[in-house]
C-alpha cells in the first residue's frame, strides 16, 4: 500500500505544494490537512511545512499552535506517529511543546536564504534513519528566525540523549551548538530549519534531501502496516 503523508496547511503556509511534490516524487501519496479541521484522515505521517502561519503575528507559530488540527497532530505524535516540522513548521512544533527549545531571530539580524551544508548527527530519528551518520548534506535554508535556543539543561539533555538530528557545518544563524534540527524523546517528532523538500532533484541544485524524506516515508510505512 502507498504510504500517505498529510501536509498541514495554515493560512500563510507557503511550502505545502513543494512538500507534497517531494513526497510524490519518492513514491508516496500526499494530501493537505486543513488547519481548521481536527482530523488527520488516517494519514501515516505528517509534515508541518514552512511559511508564515498566521503571519507570524506575536511570534512564529504562537497562533498556529492553537489551530484545531494541532490537537490531532499532538495525539498522533503521542501515539508514535512520525511528524516533521520544516522551518516555520519547526517553530510551530516548539510553540506547541512537541519539541524543546525556541527559534529566535538570527544572530546579526540577517535573513538567510542560501544552500547550507548540514551534518547528520544521529540516524536514530524518523527523519534520518535512511541517512548516513556524519554524512554532509547540502540543503537550502530560508529563514529569519532560525536561531535555535534552549536552556543549558535542555541542551545537555539533547546532547546526552543523542537528540540533535542535524548540525550546520558552518553556523548561519547563531543556533546553539550549531543545531539545525532536533527530535523529541520518542524520536518520532523532528523539527529542522532547512528545507529538504527543496532538495529532491539535481535540477534543484541538490538531491540531498532525498534520504531525509525517504526516512520519513519509511517510518510512516513501517507504522502503517
Amino acid at each position: 500500500m502507498t504510504v500517505r503523508i498529510g501536509v498541514v496547511l495554515f493560512p500563510g503556509s507557503n511550502c505545502e505544494m513543494d512538500a507534497m511534490e517531494a513526497v510524490r516524487s519518492l513514491g508516496g501519496a500526499a494530501e493537505i490537512l486543513w488547519h481548521g479541521d481536527a482530523v488527520l484522515n488516517g494519514v501515516d505521517g505528517i509534515i508541518v511545512p514552512g511559511g508564515f502561519a498566521h503571519g507570524d503575528y506575536l511570534r512564529p507559530g504562537a497562533i498556529a499552535r492553537f489551530s484545531p488540527i494541532m490537537g490531532a497532530v499532538g495525539a498522533f505524535a503521542a501515539d508514535g506517529g512520525p511528524v516533521v516540522g520544516i522551518c516555520n513548521g519547526f517553530q510551530v512544533l516548539t510553540e506547541a511543546g512537541l519539541l524543546p527549545g525556541a527559534l529566535q531571530k538570527n544572530a546579526g539580524l540577517k535573513f538567510r536564504c542560501a544552500p547550507a551544508l548540514l551534518r547528520v548527527a544521529t540516524t536514530d530519528s524518523c527523519l534520518t534513519r535512511a541517512a548516513t551518520l556524519g554524512a554532509e548534506l547540502q540543503i537550502p535554508i530560508n529563514h529569519f528566525e532560525g536561531n535555535y535556543t534552549c536552556s543549558p539543561e535542555t541542551l545537555a539533555e539533547l546532547q546526552r540523549d543523542d537528540r540533535i538530528v542535524l548540525r550546520y557545518v558552518e553556523n548561519p544563524n547563531g543556533s546553539i551548538d550549531d543545531i539545525a534540527g532536533v527530535c523529541n524523546e520518542g524520536r518520532n517528532v523532528v523539527g529542522l530549519m532547512p528545507h529538504p523538500e527543496r532538495a529532491v532533484s539535481k535540477l534543484l541544485g541538490s538531491d540531498d534531501g532525498v534520504p531525509l524524506l525517504r526516512s520519513l516515508l519509511e517510518t510512516a510505512s513501517a507504522l502503517s502496516v
Binding site: L58, T94, Q104, K105, N106, G108, T149
Partner: protein, 88 residues
C-alpha cells in the same frame, strides 16, 4: 470593573538579543556613546473586564504564560490600572 492592562514582554536574562545588540552597535555612529545593555521587547495593551484587580491579574498572568510569551525565552511584567472605580 474594567482594567487597563499593559504587558511588557521581555527576553529573559541571559538570552541573546540580536535586535538589541544591533541597536547598541548603531548608537555610537549617531554620536550616542556610553550606551550599554540595550534589550528590545514588546508592549501589549488591552482592556480587561473582571470582578476585581486580583482576578484581572490572575487572568492576565495566565494569558502571559499560555500565549503572550514563550516561557523558553521570554518573561513579562504586567501593569494593571482600574479604569472605573466602584462607587463607595
Amino acid at each position: 470593573m474594567k482594567f487597563s492592562v499593559q504587558v511588557e514582554v521581555r527576553l529573559r536574562p541571559g538570552i541573546a538579543d540580536p535586535q538589541g545588540a544591533t541597536i547598541e552597535r548603531s548608537l555610537p555612529t549617531l554620536g550616542f556613546d556610553g550606551v550599554a545593555g540595550v534589550r528590545v521587547g514588546k508592549s501589549i495593551r488591552f482592556v480587561v473586564e473582571s470582578v476585581d484587580e486580583a482576578s484581572a491579574r490572575s487572568e492576565v498572568d495566565d494569558m502571559c504564560k499560555r500565549f503572550l510569551t514563550n516561557p523558553v525565552i521570554e518573561d513579562s511584567v504586567v501593569s494593571i490600572e482600574a479604569l472605573e472605580s466602584v462607587l463607595a
